[in-house]
């Protein structure tokens, strides 16, 4: 095909998704800032319980929950949907239809998450983990997602390509998985159909799968797209990525019940949860191996490409967090670390070190192409990357070490409970500092994004980090 035709098609594809994608991506950044603030407050409260202690809406149980839901359904889900809606037309070469409807879905999504967060702060949380929004809000979000999935599947149906690229497998599967999970869990749990232990099992079936069958596939779709595109080289083994996909589809589905190890649930369910968790080593190894082999010999490119930096960091976190998760599910390991801060560290390595970093990589790749601008400042990019990377590393290490210590002390009935509490405090303080670093990163990121969408960033030319590197090398030569 001629260059010109390509350019025209590209303009058409980007034009079809520009407004909804920008709306989802910008909203996600706003939620990221809201979520970071709530997170910092909750984190400080754990080592300074008198901090903001006089009002019910500011109490730890509500702040922590408002944080989780604003980052999960505001930041993570909206970023994921934004990236999905951008990738689908590129991969199907079919423009999106229903742009107006998608914009409406984005606005409604924002309204619903805001309503949900207010509901939590004012005492209407359901206290069912990952499903704290009251039922009507959850139903609203389902409708919004149905609009997104409808637009995505419609484009898939009108595809102008022979091959369905691996990223598109993941995205297609998500369009099926998320509605099934979210609807079943909400109706079963909040619709009064399930109670007692059966409800707890459904809760963890959902809560684990929303990570494995919603955020993980979208992150992997991003990895399999951005990595080859930036370095200009196809993924090492395309075939292996197929094995990885089906293994994830099968095993991740069953992993969730490891959250109830040692609990009052049928033994068979926990056993299956543990087995499936170990089996997850297969899809994870395929991704890690593929990423490493594709990157081999190209690591120097990390210096000039912000997209690549974040995506590679995220991919590495994926390998670490998944391997950790598999072993964490084992009974012996669970006996020590379940119920401790260790789990919180693990969850953040997953949702932040892996997922959020991957989305950042997606933003760095997508926004210049949608706004026609370059990232405004190399310094802001560096602050963003290093504060995020450093922050999540400290976060993870502090809570991992602190969690193991906490778990071991809890297993020793000779240690009074208040001594266990005292032992965790320094680690919790370290976590607040780490959270501060992450917040600084997010502010730097938000400033960059704002400049791009407001048209204050330079028009497209040489990408920012690359340009700086070329000039500095030119000077030296």
């Amino acid at each position: 095909m001629a260059e010109l035709e390509h350019a025209q098609l590209l303009a058409k594809l980007d034009g079809s998704c520009r407004r909804p994608v920008l709306l989802f991506l910008i909203s996600a950044v706003v939620w990221l800032l809201v979520g970071s603030t709530l997170a910092l407050i909750a984190s400080i409260k754990l080592h300074a319980p008198e901090f903001l202690a006089n009002d019910a809406w500011l109490t730890f149980g509500r702040m922590r929950t408002a944080h989780l839901n604003s980052v999960a359904y505001g930041w993570a889900a909206m970023a994921a949907v934004g990236v999905l809606l951008w990738l689908v037309p590129r991969l199907t070469r079919a423009p999106l239809r229903g742009t107006r409807l998608l914009e409406g879905a984005a606005w409604a999504w924002n309204g619903l998450v805001a309503a949900g967060v207010v509901a939590i702060l004012t005492g209407y949380s359901t206290s069912v983990e990952w499903l704290e929004f009251p039922l009507p809000i959850a139903m609203g979000l389902t409708v919004c997602f149905a609009v997104v999935a409808g637009a995505g599947l419609d484009a898939l149906h009108r595809r102008q390509v022979d091959h369905i690229y691996v990223s598109l497998w993941y995205l297609t599967a998500v369009m099926v998985w998320f509605p099934v999970l979210y609807l079943t869990a909400n109706i079963g749990i909040h619709g009064g159909l399930l109670s007692g232990v059966a409800q707890a099992m459904t809760n963890w079936w959902f809560a684990h799968n929303v990570l494995g069958l919603f955020v993980t596939p979208i992150a992997l779709a991003t990895l399999y797209y951005v990595l080859p595109k930036v370095i200009g080289r196809p993924i090492h083994s395309y075939y292996l990525s197929l094995v990885g996909f089906w293994a994830l589809a099968l095993f991740y589905n069953w992993a969730g019940l490891h959250h109830l190890v040692g609990g009052p649930v049928p033994m068979w369910a926990v056993t299956v949860g543990i087995v499936a968790s170990m089996m997850m080593l297969i899809p994870v190894t395929t991704v890690a191996f593929n990423q490493h082999m594709t990157m081999r010999g190209h690591f120097h490119l990390l210096r000039s490409s912000p997209s690549l930096r974040f995506v590679v960091f995220a991919g590495m976190s994926y390998a670490v967090v998944s391997a950790q998760g598999s072993f964490e599910a084992l009974r012996g390991m669970s006996e020590v670390v379940h119920f401790t801060q260790y789990t919180v560290g693990h969850a953040h390595l997953g949702m932040y070190g892996f997922f959020s970093m991957m989305m950042f990589g997606g933003y760095y790749f997508i926004l210049p192409r949608l706004t026609g601008r370059e990232w405004p400042s190399a310094t802001l990019i560096r602050v963003h990357f290093w504060c995020s990377a450093f922050g999540i590393a400290v976060y993870f290490l502090a809570l991992t070490a602190g969690g193991v210590q906490q778990g071991l002390l809890l297993l020793d009935p000779g240690v009074p409970f208040l001594d266990v509490v005292q032992a965790t405090l320094p680690w919790l303080q370290a976590r607040s500092w780490a959270g501060l670093a992450l917040t600084v990163a997010h502010i730097a990121f938000a400033i960059s994004v704002a400049q791009m969408v407001l048209g204050l960033a330079p028009a497209r030319g040489t990408p920012t980090l690359l340009a700086q590197r070329v000039t500095s090398q030119g000077g030296a030569a």
Binding site: L46, G61, R64, G196, W205, G262
Partner: protein, 199 residues
């Protein structure tokens, strides 16, 4: 190459497979009706109206994010040695609970059997008003907003150390505080309930 139909059906099949195992089978198979104990009482007992309201307070303040309500079995962990329960928790303990407040964190101790371990209303009220009064060094937040400060003497007033509040002011639990304590007192998992967790 792989067709979208294969993909969609495959994706749907995998999630329905686990939905069957983890949602439908338990929904139909796990105990959902109270049992009758040897002494003729139904277990678990129905919460009093006040305790049920207290459960709602527990839910809306998010106590579940720091406290589990599940005692580990004898062979797993040290819950029984810590005195957190008199036996491991069983599915029947949660019959009818919506939601079951099993919890995933133990920033604070397990509360499945707290009503047995700490039956004192006075203790619970003081602890909720300010955990430092009963448990110095605790990182549990104070729940002062569950109490009213009233002028003059009140017979429901908490007995607080000198100087905690201004002279002549009494601290009185609100209905929410009393309900929450009634719920905590009702949290008990009696030892004479038996059953297998492998049904």
């Amino acid at each position: 190459m792989i067709e979208p139909r294969t993909l969609l059906l495959g994706a749907l099949a995998t999630v329905c497979f686990s939905l069957t195992g983890y949602v439908l089978v338990p929904a139909l198979g796990v105990e959902t009706t109270p049992i009758t104990l040897e002494n003729g009482r139904a277990y678990p007992p129905v919460l009093s109206e006040q305790a049920a309201q207290g459960r709602e307070v527990y839910r809306d303040l998010g106590c579940v994010y720091c406290h589990s309500q599940q005692v580990r079995p004898e062979t797993f962990g040290a819950d029984l040695d810590r005195g957190w329960g008199r036996r491991g928790s069983l599915p029947v303990d949660y019959v009818g609970q919506q939601p079951p407040l099993l919890g995933t964190m133990r920033t604070g101790p397990d509360l499945a059997d707290i009503g047995t371990r700490q039956p004192s209303e006075t203790w619970h009220l003081l602890h909720l008003y300010d955990p430092q009064l009963t448990s110095p060094g605790s990182n549990m937040p104070p729940f002062r907003f569950l109490f009213d400060e009233v002028e003059g003497h009140d017979e429901r007033a908490l007995t607080l150390p000198e100087g905690t509040v201004a002279n002549g002011v009494s601290v009185v639990p609100t209905a929410r505080a009393s309900a929450l304590v009634a719920y905590l007192q009702a949290l008990q998992q009696p030892p004479d309930v038996t059953g297998s967790s492998d049904e």
